[in-house]
């Protein structure tokens, strides 16, 4: 969870090398960036340019997907819990919580003195309505699967909410920090998201989907040491050249997703590049039900046939780290640091092919830039490196339009983007648990399921760590997903934008909380 920040004059490679030498835990900043540690102060209009934003975006949290609406949500709303910059869970609207001994019943105590932008006090009914928005048979929410485990929510007085789960889940409070689950004021047991009222640090002034959103500071915000700006403006600037120009010419103060191919030009223009390595990873999913991927030796041959470092260097321009065929990032609590890193090894790939009874292998790999930026190039690279092991990968360029409905989880071998999840259980349950809707390897593993269930309700941290280590090993060696690289969250900021010395690694823009945590010099 290092925030590596650099100015012109300090090269990224040099920085990464010295970071590696000192040890990944150190925070390395160039001397000129020390001013970042100055005391935060109020004022200014903070403008962010996003590489996302669509005219179909809405204020309905159930349909939020990309960074623009995630930041929108985190700017105007608060959540029960929030993931801190250090990756630990922090209380937000929930002041404290406790679990029953089986971790299946959770009691949340709400904070006193929190008011919505319309002056209404926060009470338990608001929390219940906000969570119920995603639950039930008729749910049209993208967050339905993550709240599926909730069997009952009830109020105990005005300030206590009791949530009952199907089964124990030690990480349940983490789920409540998900960007789909802001707390909105309830009216007759329902939330009216269209009126734009929340209890966050800024009040929504206007929102033009796919164009911009404007906010003013909430004068009654309950946090005194957050939300430093007078105004916040979010802009959708889809074209990466336009986004970079907007930053260089001072039209915006921060941009996300600068074009990595031309990032050296941004550095020359005197802006700061912030790069945080987190949970975001790019994968190639194999359908483990379909031949030839049903044979684990074939899957291993493919895993050994990918040149990971080359992908990080070319596709990510070095802004990332190699993956080890499991989805747990280095910033996660239970990342298996001791697990041996899988390297490109054509001989072992050949060996596994022989074990599978094959002399050579020919497969189609579907990719489109909708999967992730550079996915088609990555497929070609994969094909080149695998060819050295006698594997013919035929990269198929699919249309970006409709990629998620027509290619992903439909074609047997496809490129995929994962934002990652803040907890091990969440990530594994989402994409590796048997029968999970997004288990894109269609993978089932008995021992893995057993561990997944046991670890979920286990409250002893050491035991959990052991179980998650074993699960990472199982996924690495028997899983159906090639995970060659973890991609950094990369942002560029103007000189006068100050950040805390630790930046959230759970998603882009400081855990999509930049509007709350950053300030102007």
């Amino acid at each position: 969870m290092n925030a590596s920040t650099r100015n012109p004059g300090l090269t990224r490679r040099g920085l990464l090398k010295s970071a590696g030498a000192i040890g990944a835990a150190g925070l390395i900043l160039p001397a000129s960036y020390r001013k970042a540690m100055a005391e935060p102060k109020r004022g200014g209009t903070f403008r962010i340019g996003f590489g996302h934003g669509n005219t179909t975006d809405s204020l309905n949290p159930a349909l939020w997907d990309q960074a623009f609406v995630q930041v929108l949500g985190n700017t105007m709303h608060n959540y029960l819990t929030v993931i801190g910059a250090d990756g630990q869970l922090e209380p937000e609207l929930a002041e404290s919580w406790e679990a029953s001994s089986d971790a299946a019943t959770w009691t949340f105590k709400l904070r006193e003195g929190v008011t919505f932008h319309n002056g209404k006090d926060l009470v338990a009914a608001d929390v219940i309505a906000s969570l119920n928005h995603h639950r039930g048979e008729d749910s049209a929410s993208a967050a339905a699967p993550i709240v599926e485990a909730i069997t009952d929510i009830r109020a105990d007085g005005d300030k206590v909410v009791v949530i009952t789960l199907q089964a124990g889940d030690a990480d349940f409070p983490f789920i409540l920090s998900d960007y789909h689950l802001p707390i909105l004021p309830a009216e007759d047991g329902r939330i009216d998201y269209d009126n734009g009222i929340g209890c966050g640090g800024y009040i929504l002034e206007s929102f033009e989907p796919g164009v911009d959103a404007h906010f003013t500071r909430n004068p009654d915000y309950w946090k005194s040491d957050r939300a430093w700006f007078d105004r916040v403006e979010l802009y959708a600037i889809l074209d990466s050249a336009a986004r970079q120009n907007a930053l260089i010419t001072g039209e915006v103060d921060v941009i996300d997703r600068p074009d990595l191919n031309t990032i050296h030009m941004l550095e020359r223009a005197g802006v700061n590049i912030i790069s945080v390595s987190g949970t975001q990873h790019y994968t190639f999913a194999m359908d483990s039900r379909a031949d030839p991927f049903s044979n684990n030796h074939v899957r291993l041959a493919l895993k050994y046939g990918v040149n990971r470092q080359q992908m990080v260097d070319t596709i990510l321009s070095g802004f990332g780290v190699v993956g080890n065929d499991h989805p747990i990032g280095r910033s996660n609590r239970f990342h298996a640091d001791d697990l041996e890193q899988r390297e490109f090894d054509p001989d072992r790939a050949r060996h596994h092919l022989r074990e599978a009874g094959l002399d050579s292998l020919t497969v189609d790999l579907s990719a489109a830039d909708a999967a992730f930026a550079g996915a088609v190039d990555a497929a070609v690279l994969f094909s080149e490196s695998a060819a050295q092991a006698g594997i013919n990968i035929n990269p198929v360029r699919e249309p970006s339009d409709g990629y998620w409905s027509n290619v992903w989880m439909v074609k047997p071998f496809s490129a995929v983007y994962w934002g990652g999840r803040p907890t091990e259980d969440w990530m594994f349950s989402t994409a590796f648990a048997a029968g999970a809707p997004w288990n894109d390897g269609f993978w089932e593993h008995e021992r893995f399921e057993e561990l997944l269930r046991a670890a979920r309700s286990e409250l002893d941290e050491d035991l959990r760590a052991e179980m998650y280590f074993e699960m990472q090993q199982i996924v690495r060696d028997e899983g159906a997903i090639v995970i060659p690289m973890f991609s950094d969250y990369v942002m560029a900021t103007a000189d006068n934008v100050m950040t805390p010395d630790q930046i959230g690694a759970n998603t882009t823009l400081d855990g999509v909380r930049a509007t709350e945590r950053w300030w102007f010099a």
């Binding site: 669509n54 179909t56 997907d65 339905a144 989907p209 796919g210 802009y235 074209d239 010419t249 997004w438």
Partner: protein, 318 residues
């Protein structure tokens, strides 16, 4: 004059028919695209249950023809429906501000491009095959030959990075006309560079074509100055082809500028159309398609009326 009115009425009738056909084609084409709104808006997060629930909520589970006729009857009563993405927001309201922006940019660009193109056209016809003609022609042709985004990037590089003009054409709320003109200058200039060549060369060709006519020769023989020959005698007869090419370019300025909108982050109709197609937000796609088609129909009609009025032979045809 009655002849003109009859023509206008007839053409408007055909125009309506065109719009009807366009609406069927667009609706059908959007249907043919893989996926629907529910899948597109949920993207990677789509689960079968959520997709089914959204479809049911929005009536997307109805057969195609039911949805089309629902939409058509709504439109006949002046109701374009609500966007699938923002249920509380009528399509008309969503489109209005974008339409205003699109017209503003189109008029701004046209106000620069049309006088420039016509003046240059007359001048190059006057001094044809001179050095001026060659320089003007090759400059205009190079401007039109580069892709729009390239022209736009060059302008940003030269005029925005040096700080003369903003690279983003976003309009702050309550901006006055002066500021609007300033902020939208680069996109308008880009479009001017892109459309000028076509109009200029058409003007030149139309005038030069006429210069071979006997009545022009007569004018010359009686000792008239070349500039007067062109402006008094050639230009009025060249109005018909010029009006046509101007109409086509104006229609293009309204309908075809999505690339410029994206590069300059200008919230116009083109971007809305592209977004709505990619998310299969059919009511919005349909409404914009109708606006675009109507722009072509009306501009072509205007061009035809102008050419008829400019030509007495057509005026007095029975």
């Amino acid at each position: 004059m009655a002849h003109i009115w009859r023509m206008i009425a007839q053409r408007l009738g055909f125009g309506l028919l065109t719009l009807f056909v366009v609406s069927i084609i667009i609706f059908g084409a959007t249907e043919l695209l893989p996926g629907d709104f529910a899948q597109a808006v949920l993207g990677q997060a789509a689960t079968p249950e959520a997709v089914a629930n959204i479809r049911r909520e929005l009536g997307l589970d109805q057969p195609v023809y039911v949805r089309y006729f629902d939409w058509l009857f709504g439109v006949m009563q002046g109701d374009f429906g609500t966007s699938l993405a923002q249920r509380g927001r009528p399509v008309s309201e969503m489109i209005m501000s974008r339409l205003g922006n699109t017209f503003f940019l189109a008029i701004y660009a046209a106000a620069m491009a049309v006088p420039l193109a016509l003046t240059l056209g007359v001048l190059v016809a006057l001094w044809r095959n001179s050095l001026f003609d060659r320089v003007a022609n090759s400059t205009a042709l190079s401007a039109i030959s580069f892709p729009e985004f390239f022209v736009a990037y060059i302008l940003i590089f030269v005029l925005a990075q040096s700080g003369y003009f903003p690279s983003m054409a976003r309009m702050p709320a309550g901006a006055d006309l002066g500021e609007k003109l300033y902020r939208a200058f680069l996109p308008a200039l880009t479009l001017t560079l892109v459309v000028t060549a076509h109009m200029m060369r058409m003007t030149r060709a139309a005038i030069i074509n006429l210069l071979a006519s006997p009545y022009i020769e007569m004018a010359r023989l009686k000792g008239m100055r070349p500039s007067r020959v062109i402006i008094r005698h050639a230009l009025p007869n060249a109005i018909a082809p010029i009006a046509n090419v101007v109409a086509i370019n104006l229609a293009y300025l309204i309908t075809g500028v999505v690339v410029v909108e994206v590069v300059f982050v200008y919230p116009g109709l083109g971007q809305l159309m592209v977004d709505s197609v990619s998310r299969r937000d059919i009511p919005v796609v349909q409404a914009i398609a109708l606006i675009f088609a109507a722009a072509y129909v009306l501009l072509n009609l205007t061009a035809d009326v102008i050419s008829t009025l400019s030509n007495p032979r057509l005026m007095h045809r029975t």
